[in-house]
Symmetry: C2
């Protein structure tokens, strides 16, 4: 639907999301990444199997793509279980609304399917990509964990870990197994690294890959190495799991399934996502009503309408009404 | 001293050692790697400081090169301590005579200087480079540890660890810190990786680097993060520590010092080193006198004289006399 020139500007990878004025072309992304569209029939099947209305993020198409979600549902229908894996790169003090999307949706999935959940805090990733100390990324991980816990996960079925604390043992063994299956050429193709990039970047993809394998968590899933994994995430994380799905059968593991969301648009407009690196692009869960009003009215409110097309996804939030009454 | 053509054949890196017929040109290696020659004055200084005769490997020039050994001796003279770090890649069931060189020498250094020692078993490295399972490399590491312990290290001052067991926590933090300081171009320059090599190889150098930093061992050296480290090793391991020494000051750590040996020649001759990958090149500590005789007389004994030029380094071994009486 965009002009040719604008289409070419679209960049979506784990570190950058940008598109032309028309916003991100999600149809094109699905084709480019090779994932599947999440259609009404599949949403209806989720509702039937879980005997509850599908989450509004499903009904409204915020989660719009998947990989092998049907296989997870087949298993569930036969009475078998799976587990959920999602995560967060701790780059800011508090979460913003975009960060909440996968966590709110994952909470729904955990409630609806009654399954275990692992949440990875990639403090090592943020150390490698940002100009932060190890101590600072670990501190941000702890702060972020508090916001994540506040989403209301089942404490009996949820394991939150930071890479700096947890990497080692079976987790490290799986990292090395994945690394042996992926060439440098391959990661360059997937992630676009250059020879001037440091080797920490090249080394990181196996760290994000291995929570997809239950044997990485012997204290949770011991003896259940073939348990299937479902990953709710934004579609910019797809490259990690394309790689993971390619490697899994070669090291004797199941491929993870995915359910993937659109991005929460930046306050500046739909051509990029809300980003913790740019405070004016984001509303944090810790922002006051006044701060939110100021941010949303940034640039003389010309973008308010654009932005408000998305805000309805977040209706349950208590500050919703104050945003609405303040700015609309 | 070699012809031009032969000189060009010399390849020395952590995975390959080969040279022309004249054997390895160690003078050239010292210049190429940029390390320092270990001269008689330095050997005499070691003897004076430790108040004991220098080890025969020093007197006879088997350890022939170093990096900043004088700085370690300066510290020791002032009454300060340091620690030793050496290691082994567990690629075979038993150690061979070449493997014993660093361990025998390290035992002497530990006795003479009364210092702590860490010994890294790189089972992860052997998984990445050889066609072995994780379980097999871990088993080989345990078997090798027994041979290493038999060298007689001070049990109160020695920590032996396998990467698969120990990586994590402070050790993993240091790995990530090192990785952020080294570009892909840099590791290609140092180790010769190609784009078709898997990313496990690219990720490994930080694993071998970080035992050089005392903060990688909080249970041993807590609060003593500036403790100096001396690494006895064969000169083919120099590339890892050139990289480590380059990175150390950038992450607030001391550069490790090195003391480096020649190679124990293969039974086939001095143009390569004894290798566990080729059983006919090596005499294992578990070989019987009969097996040793067969191996040494391989190829109609034409190489015996060549080989025996080196055997005198190992005089203390109990099978020495049986080799000598059997084959000479």
């Amino acid at each position: 639907t965009n002009e040719e020139g604008e289409e070419e500007e679209q960049v979506v990878n784990p570190w950058e999301v940008s598109a032309g004025k028309g916003g991100i072309d999600y149809d094109k992304l699905v084709d480019q990444f090779g994932c599947q569209r999440l259609d009404d029939a599949l949403v209806a099947r989720v509702a039937r199997l879980t005997a509850r209305p599908p989450h509004r993020f499903l009904r409204r198409g915020l989660f719009f793509a998947h990989r092998d979600l049907n296989e997870i549902l087949d298993l569930y229908e036969k009475g078998e279980k799976f587990y959920l894996y999602t995560g967060r790169g701790p780059s800011s003090e508090a979460l913003h609304l975009g960060h909440l999307i996968p966590f709110m949706f994952t909470k729904y999935l955990q409630d609806a399917f009654k399954v275990p959940l692992v949440i990875q805090l990639t403090d090592d990733e943020k150390f490698l990509w940002k100009n932060l100390t190890v101590e600072e990324t670990k501190r941000l991980a702890r702060e972020n964990a508090k916001d994540i816990i506040a989403c209301g996960f089942d404490v009996e079925r949820t394991f939150i870990f930071s890479d700096f604390n947890y990497v080692g043992g079976a987790f490290y063994e799986n990292m090395v197994k994945v690394a042996r299956c992926v060439t440098y050429n391959k990661v360059v193709g997937i992630f676009g690294f250059t020879p001037e990039d440091h080797i920490g970047k090249v080394s990181f993809p196996p760290v994000q890959a291995v929570p997809s394998f239950p044997s990485s968590f012997p204290h949770l899933f011991s003896g259940n190495d073939q348990l299937r994994c479902l990953i709710p995430c934004a579609i910019d994380q797809d490259p990690y799991f394309r790689m993971t799905r390619d490697v899994a059968p070669r090291i004797g593991y199941q491929k993870p399934s995915l359910i993937e969301s659109r991005f929460f648009p930046a306050l500046q407009g739909e051509n990029t996502k809300m980003s913790a690196s740019d405070p004016n692009s984001a509303i944090y869960v810790t922002d006051s009503a006044k701060e939110i009003k100021t941010k949303v009215c940034f640039k003389h409110c010309i973008l308010v309408e654009n932005y408000c097309n998305f805000i309805f996804y977040l209706r349950p939030f208590k500050f919703w009404s104050s945003i609405k009454s303040s700015v609309l």
